[in-house]
C-alpha cells in the first residue's frame, strides 16, 4: 500500500483505471473515465497494483500539470504509477531516456533525436509518403479481397518510412514488428519484455556498428558519428534507435486502421474526405480524428516532487499522477459536443500527442502520413467498406499501450 492510499477514506468510491471501453462505442473513451470530468478536473483512480494515483482529466488541468516543474517523469521513484507489472519490475534497470528524464537531462537527450523530425524535413518527405501509399493501394486493388487493412497498408507505410529515415533494412520488418508488439502490449511478463528489448537492442547495436564503418544519410549514421565523436555510447545510441523504431510505426499503424474503422461508421464525415483535395481540409480532419481516437490510452505517467495545491486537490510529494489523454480530448469545455466527430472542427489543441516537454517527437511525421493516407485511400477506393460486422472486430484491451484493432477486414 502506498502512502497515497492511507489518505483515502476506506469507503470512498474510486474509479478503476483503466476500465474497458463500451463495446457499443469502442471508438469513444471509457464512459466512466469521461464521467469523472463532470465532478472535477482531478480525482483519484485505482490502478492494477491497487495504488490510487491522481487522475487529471480536464483539458486545461492536463496542460497545467504537464507543464509544471514540480511534477517529474522519473520512473525510479517509489510511488510511480507504472502502466503494468512488467514495466514496474523493469523500471530499476531503465536507463535515462526521453520518457523518464526531466529538465536539463531531457533537453540533452531530446536534442540528439529532433533533427530528422522537423516540420520542414517531414514536409519534404510528403512526395515519398504519397508514392509508398499509392503503391500499397495499387497492390491492394490488384490482389484478392477482402483484405486486412492493417497488413496491406497501415503497418507497411509507417514501417517503410521509419526504416528509410533510420537506415534500417525494411526486409527485416517481420523481426522488429514482432518484438515491437511485445514492447507495446500489457499482456506480457517482465521476462518477455526484457527478451524483446534484448533482441531488438542486439539487432540495432549491430546496425550501428555497421554505420560506424560505412555511414549513409540516415539517423543511425548520425548516431554512429556521435559515438565516434564520444558524445554517445553504443548502448545509449541503441536505446534511442529502439525508441524511434518502435514509436515510429506502431502508433501510426493503429491510427490508420482505427481511423478507417471510425470513418466507415461515420459516412457523412467520410464523404468530406472523399470529395476534397484541399490539403488544409485534410490536415484539419486528421487533427480531429487524432482528438477523437487518442490511441495513447494509457496516459502520461508522472510523480509529484513536492507538496502543492492543484485545482482544489492536495497533492503530496511522492504521489503518483496519471494524465489520461482521451479524457482531456473529450472535455466538453475544450471541445463542445466531444462525442460528435466533426472533421471541420478546430482541434489542433488536442492532447493526442501529449503536452509539455514530452510531447511526441514524431508528431509531424505521423500527421503527414495520416494526411496522405486519409486524403488518398477513400478517394481511390470510394466504395471501401468493412468486410465483417463491426461487432466482430477484436479491439485490444483498454490497458494496451496503444488502443487499436489488429485486423480490419475491408472490401470494395
Amino acid at each position: 500500500m502506498t502512502e497515497a492510499d492511507v489518505r483515502l477514506a476506506p469507503d470512498e468510491p474510486v474509479y478503476y483505471y483503466q476500465d474497458d471501453r463500451d463495446a457499443k462505442c469502442p471508438y469513444a473513451p471509457p464512459p466512466g473515465l469521461r464521467a469523472l470530468n463532470d465532478e472535477a478536473p482531478i480525482s483519484r483512480g485505482r490502478i492494477w497494483d491497487g495504488s490510487t494515483p491522481w487522475l487529471v482529466t480536464g483539458h486545461a488541468a492536463q496542460r497545467a500539470i504537464l507543464s509544471d516543474p514540480r511534477v517529474s517523469s522519473d520512473d525510479k521513484q517509489a510511488g510511480f504509477p507504472y502502466p503494468n507489472q512488467a514495466m514496474a519490475e523493469n523500471a530499476p534497470h531503465h536507463p535515462l531516456t526521453i520518457f523518464n528524464a526531466d529538465g536539463a537531462d531531457h533537453t540533452r537527450i531530446r536534442r540528439m533525436m529532433t533533427r530528422p523530425f522537423t516540420r520542414p524535413r517531414m514536409e519534404a518527405l510528403r512526395p515519398e509518403i504519397q508514392r509508398f501509399t499509392d503503391e500499397l493501394i495499387d497492390k491492394m486493388l490488384a490482389g484478392p479481397k477482402p483484405v486486412n487493412l492493417t497488413t496491406a497498408l497501415s503497418l507497411p507505410l509507417p514501417s517503410l518510412m521509419i526504416c528509410a529515415l533510420l537506415g534500417v533494412p525494411y526486409e527485416d520488418h517481420e523481426f522488429f514488428q514482432k518484438h515491437a508488439r511485445v514492447a507495446t502490449t500489457s499482456e506480457k511478463t517482465a521476462e518477455d519484455d526484457r527478451a524483446a528489448g534484448e533482441a531488438l537492442g542486439g539487432y540495432l547495436a549491430n546496425l550501428l556498428q555497421v554505420k560506424m564503418e560505412t555511414p549513409a544519410d540516415d539517423v543511425l549514421s548520425d548516431f554512429a558519428a556521435r559515438i565516434k565523436a564520444g558524445d554517445l555510447t553504443l548502448p545509449e545510441a541503441t536505446l534511442l534507435s529502439m525508441i524511434l523504431l518502435i514509436a515510429g510505426h506502431e502508433t501510426s499503424a493503429t491510427m490508420i486502421t482505427l481511423g478507417t474503422g471510425l470513418l466507415l461508421d461515420n459516412p457523412e464525415q467520410l464523404r468530406l474526405l472523399r470529395e476534397t483535395d484541399d490539403p488544409k481540409i485534410v490536415a484539419n480532419a486528421v487533427d480531429e480524428i487524432l482528438r477523437y481516437l487518442t490511441v495513447a490510452t494509457f496516459g502520461q505517467r508522472r510523480i509529484a516532487r513536492e507538496d502543492f495545491a492543484f485545482e482544489g486537490a492536495d497533492i503530496k510529494a511522492g504521489d503518483g499522477i496519471i494524465v489520461p489523454l482521451p479524457a482531456g480530448n473529450w472535455d466538453p469545455v475544450a471541445f463542445p459536443d466531444p462525442e460528435r466527430l466533426d472533421l471541420t472542427r478546430k482541434a489542433t489543441h488536442h492532447h493526442a500527442f501529449g503536452w509539455g516537454i514530452h510531447q511526441c517527437l514524431g508528431q509531424q511525421l505521423a500527421r503527414i502520413e495520416l494526411q496522405v493516407v486519409y486524403g488518398t485511400l477513400y478517394r481511390r477506393i470510394p466504395t471501401l467498406r468493412l468486410a465483417v460486422d463491426r461487432d466482430e472486430l477484436k479491439f485490444r484491451p483498454a490497458d494496451a499501450l496503444a488502443f487499436g484493432v489488429s485486423e480490419l477486414p475491408v472490401t470494395w
Partner: protein
C-alpha cells in the same frame, strides 16, 4: 504585435511552423525554433496567437 521565443525551452515539436510558417521555422541541426519575423503583420496575428497556444513547451510569448 511582438513575438519573443525562448530557445532553451523549445522541444522542437514543430507546432509553431504548422501554425504560422511565415513567422516560424526550425533550425536544421536540432529543430530549435527560428523566429523569421518578430513583428508579424496584423493579417498573421491569429496564426501567430495559435502558434503560441499550441506550443507544448510554452516557448513563445506574445506582446500585443
Amino acid at each position: 504585435m511582438k513575438v519573443v521565443v525562448d530557445e532553451d525551452k523549445c522541444v522542437a515539436a514543430g507546432q509553431c511552423v504548422s501554425a504560422a510558417m511565415d513567422v516560424f521555422d526550425q533550425r536544421d541541426e536540432d529543430g530549435i525554433v527560428v523566429l523569421l519575423n518578430e513583428n508579424p503583420p496584423p493579417e498573421l496575428a491569429d496564426d501567430v496567437r495559435n502558434a503560441a497556444a499550441v506550443c507544448p513547451a510554452l516557448a513563445i510569448r506574445i506582446e500585443e
